[in-house]
Amino acid sequence: MAWVNNQWIKYLEGYCKGQNQIQDEYVRKVAKNLGLDAPLDIDFIWQQEIISKFKPSENYGVIILTGTAGDGKTKLCRDIVMQIEQETFDEDLWNAHSYFSSNERTIVKDFSELQDEKSLVIKELIDVLDSSEILKPILIAVNDGILIEEIDVFIDSSGSQKEIDTAKKLKEIIEDKINLGYSDCEQQGLINLINLSKLNAKDNFYLILDSIINHSGWNACNDCEGKLKGTCPIYNKYEQLRDNSKIRENLSNIILLLQLNNEHFTIRELLNLATNTLLASTPKAKNLKITKIESTSPVYTCKRVAKISNNPEIQQESTIEVGFWGMNLGQHKMNNARPYSEINKLLFGELSTNYWDNYLKNQVEREVSIPLDNHSEFFDTKRVIESDIDSELWGAILRRSRIQLFCYQDNNEKAYLLQKFSSFGYYKSKLYDELIERDKCDDLEVISVLVLALNRVFHGRFISENSGRDRLYIPEKGQGSITPISIFHGDELRERNIYITKIFSDINLSGARIEPVLIFEIDRGVELKLALTVELFDFLFQVSKGSPPNTTNPRLYKKLLIFRSKLASRLSLISRSDGKRIETYTIEKGDFRPLTLKVNHG
């Protein structure tokens, strides 16, 4: 038996290192150099869906592929052109140029790389809006913002007022679509925008992990000593991920939670995260180590593992959570380098509950083994004092045990209490899962929780559960967003006029992310939207349970007061308030009747 140097592991290491360099062309080149027959090719369904829209003979109109650097725009563009051109596709020509324009179509591989052609492309888009007609298909891959910047430059340099007006319209449509996902402007239907930043990072991450795990490259490990003796930490993590889909699910749900708080992860970041999860060595910071092992490199390769495999502690130290939380990269990167900085904001392992701490202590009650099991003597307080345990070690054991328990548990609803937004489990089951199936969530229980909390925020009083759940009392216009207590009641919205839906974008893809939004239907066709992030939901949930809004999260509180002001202003524009206004406090006759909303005192 001997240690095998698996090229597939070497290839994966490329994703961990210098993530900015991971580009489509580069990855294909590395795979070729390493002699891999099949580089990692992830079969994203959304990619196939987009590609299928580009049939060679059809005029698919204007499609702008936008997103953050690393979202895979260039690769997608290449795949689309390959499909259109089929056997005539010239790889060298594709790599050498960014702008392909003919009478049949215009394709821009990377708008930021264009020089003089930028204004030609913008001119083509302006012509589409001016003529309201699409004569040839146009496909443009561009980073968020760069197109807008260039439209501004175009506006500044143009001498024609008509051209400037249309360019402004174009800018507004594109800005709306990249900011909100939709636009209410006229002619917006002519410009389709596929924003890859709006894809579902959770699904993408799950798929990436799946693709890596199911890759044939692992077959090269079959005869390796590390696999056969069970001493290779990389292979052990691979097996754990392969055999326990719940671990993959739990890790993906963390991505989902962050995504629902408006965090976006690019494909490049997710690849980095997935490969680091597998290849991470041991934690760099002392306060996260549960053994005394030191690693010279943040990631393991076959060669490095072969050298240290004799140490049995390596299996304890190099586990899945080390890579996923970026512990191998050091404290600074954990807190400042994406995607780890975002994951660590959730304070996993630092927070806990009695429920989970009981689990931690009682080995018999759980199936999962955790680092604490090897240090059970620490539970004896006397011994802790006598042994003068290193507080850093104790902290590391506890934190790592809590995280492992979260990673390996089997969809336990209470597991979510281990993170900053503890109502996430409730949010996911009651709202998010519902929106996967349907366009609308009008679960009475959820809506009444939100309405009660909003009433408490809007009125600055501890509105009773019995009076504040079935309708939202909106203050009279004029009270602004700086007075915490709203005094005069303007109007009200019934529970049935408040519901949760998701944002619909131009092209509905199966991989599109779901962005829940709370709709306040003020009148027919008049509505206000409030993005319902997990953070906001958690805040409202806590307020509905009795937490004071101003101290629970002052910033969200302020945002909601601004929203109150917006809602009151919008309501005041609608004529129905004339003569029909119900005032909680009637003052025309000098009679105050604070009857509708009861306030809990004390």
Binding site: D144, G145, L180, Q479, S481, I482, K529, S565, I587, F592
Partner: protein, 502 residues
């Protein structure tokens, strides 16, 4: 630069003061540290309200006109409303007592009708007005409680005649008053608001006409619950037109035209034209008035510290930190810049000293006596500068949230959430969003607030710190719900009042 210097004797006569410090010929008559930007704004509204009355009586042609230099009406006093809100000590006791409704009213009316002072005492008509409008004592109590919740700085220990309600309608605009001497007081209304009014009067004509129409609407009849409430509690005050010989001259602003006046006025017009609630507008306007007053004082210092007759105004720059945990080159430089700006104020006085002295009528041919007078005046001006002017920009910037000592011993420019909120509203106006880089440009161009680049080459700033500062600003805006981060290359500052979703 154009200047309006008036001889000292005229100034003395105009303001009935024995001694006009030199310094008031540099910055105006007058700013005092007790008058924070909020109080400046309240005084400004008082002046505008009085001038509107004068316009109605055709005493002036326009509320905002460069010719306006006199007040024709006494400021609104609204004593009875103020007594009900701030001096009605017995109200709580009566409300909580088990007395009959009739007894409650009788005890309350008895108290109100026995208040000392002609101006403050409630007469029968006042009491009848209350009785007619309220069906129950509880409603009366609620009405007063509601109004007191709108008090500006409710925890302050100021006398009741120096307390204010947010001026969301003309009923709640009133003056500062000394209830013992029974006269309008100049401690808090020390004419800072009048100076701001004069600045607005000297802005460009097109801006002035917009200001006029917006403020006429602001002060006009309102049909909201707050206005109704005031009218239910007290009868409307009769406005007191001053006799010709008793008309008061407004403050003294020594410049006929400056660019800073135009910027201030256009900022106020922008805010007034927004589709925002009045209370929100008040907050933003207070911040902008505070900023522009502080900026005006420093601009004069910046322009005159080494030149008696500068051709154009030099704007001070505000190297501003977005609060970070660790110290950096921005923090150190910002602290230094404040000290430099203070020194420039001192140098401006020295620079202009002898020029201003020629404006004063010294009734003496004796050169020695003149020299002694000059020395005395200079000393007096230096004391005045030290006590009132040097710290005034700090007073303004501290209250609005542009200056802080947090984590340091000295003041530096720090962007607080509150002021940033006002800046976003002011820069975006009715726009839904603006790219982050353009927002940074607007901060620099319009307010000389530097976050991501150095204001000048003399500063030894690390590029790394500037980048981090800009990132911190983006992160602060994001946490405030005012930034949408699309990618590393693209973020939008969003207007929460206009954009569809928080």
């Amino acid at each position: 630069m154009d200047s309006l210097h008036i001889y000292s004797s005229q100034l003395k006569e105009q303001y009935s003061l024995n001694h006009i410090p030199y310094i008031e010929n540099i910055w105006g008559h007058r700013f005092r540290p007790d008058q924070t930007p909020s109080i400046v704004f309240f005084e400004l509204l008082c002046v505008i309200e009085s001038q509107l009355q004068a316009k109605k009586c055709e005493l002036i042609e326009a509320v905002f006109s460069p010719e306006n230099d006199t007040l024709y009406f006494k400021h609104q006093q609204r004593f009875k409303l103020r007594i009900l809100i701030y001096q009605n000590e017995i109200l709580e006791t009566i409300y909580n007592s088990i007395d009959t409704e009739e007894n409650k009213w009788s005890r309350q009316f008895n108290y109100l009708s026995n208040i000392e002072g002609e101006l403050f005492k409630f007469n029968d008509e006042d009491l009848q007005h209350i009785k007619n409008n309220f069906n129950s004592f509880e409603s009366f109590y609620n009405a007063i409680k509601i109004l007191s919740s709108l008090t500006f700085d409710p925890l302050s220990k100021k006398r009741w005649t120096s307390k204010f309600i947010y001026p969301i309608s003309s009923e709640y605009i009133w003056c500062d008053f000394d209830n013992r001497k029974v006269t309008e007081d100049r401690r808090f209304f020390s004419r800072g608001g009048e100076l701001v009014y004069l600045m607005l009067c000297r802005a460009k004509p097109e801006i002035r006409s917009s200001l006029e129409s917006h403020f006429e609407e602001w002060m006009g009849e309102q049909n909201n619950s707050f206005s109704k409430l005031s009218n239910l509690l007290v009868r409307k005050d009769e406005r007191i037109k001053l006799l010709e010989q008793k008309r008061k001259r407004l403050a003294y602003l020594p410049y006929r035209q400056l660019q800073v006046f135009d910027i201030l006025a256009s900022d106020i017009v922008n805010v007034l034209s927004l589709d925002l609630e009045k209370l929100d507008k008040v907050k933003v306007m207070i911040d902008l008035v505070g900023f522009h007053v502080g900026n005006y004082i420093l601009t004069i210092g910046e322009s005159y510290h080494n030149d008696n007759n500068p051709k154009e105004l030099k704007s001070p720059s505000y190297l501003t930190e977005v609060l970070s945990k660790v110290t950096n080159s921005i923090r150190k430089t910002s602290i230094q810049s404040i000290s430099t700006q203070r020194n420039k104020l001192k140098r401006s006085l020295i620079q202009r000293n002898s020029d201003i002295f020629t404006l004063y009528d010294i009734d003496s041919e004796d050169e020695n006596e003149k020299k002694t007078r000059l020395k005395e005046e200079t000393l007096s001006a230096e004391t005045y500068l030290k006590n009132h002017i040097l710290n005034y920009p700090n007073v303004c910037f501290r209250e609005i949230g542009l200056l802080s000592k947090k984590n340091t011993r000295s003041y530096r420019y720090v962007l607080s959430e509150e002021f940033l909120h006002s800046l976003v509203i002011s820069i975006l106006g009715n726009k839904k969003r603006i790219e982050f880089n353009k927002f940074l440009n607007a901060l620099r161009d319009r307010y000389s607030i530097y976050v991501d680049i150095s204001p000048n080459n003399d500063y030894e700033l690390l590029q790394r710190d500037l980048n981090r500062n800009s990132k911190n600003l983006a992160s602060l805006l994001y946490q405030m719900g005012m930034l949408r981060h699309l990618s590393d290359a693209c973020s939008y500052v969003i207007n929460p009042y206009r954009e569809d979703s928080v």
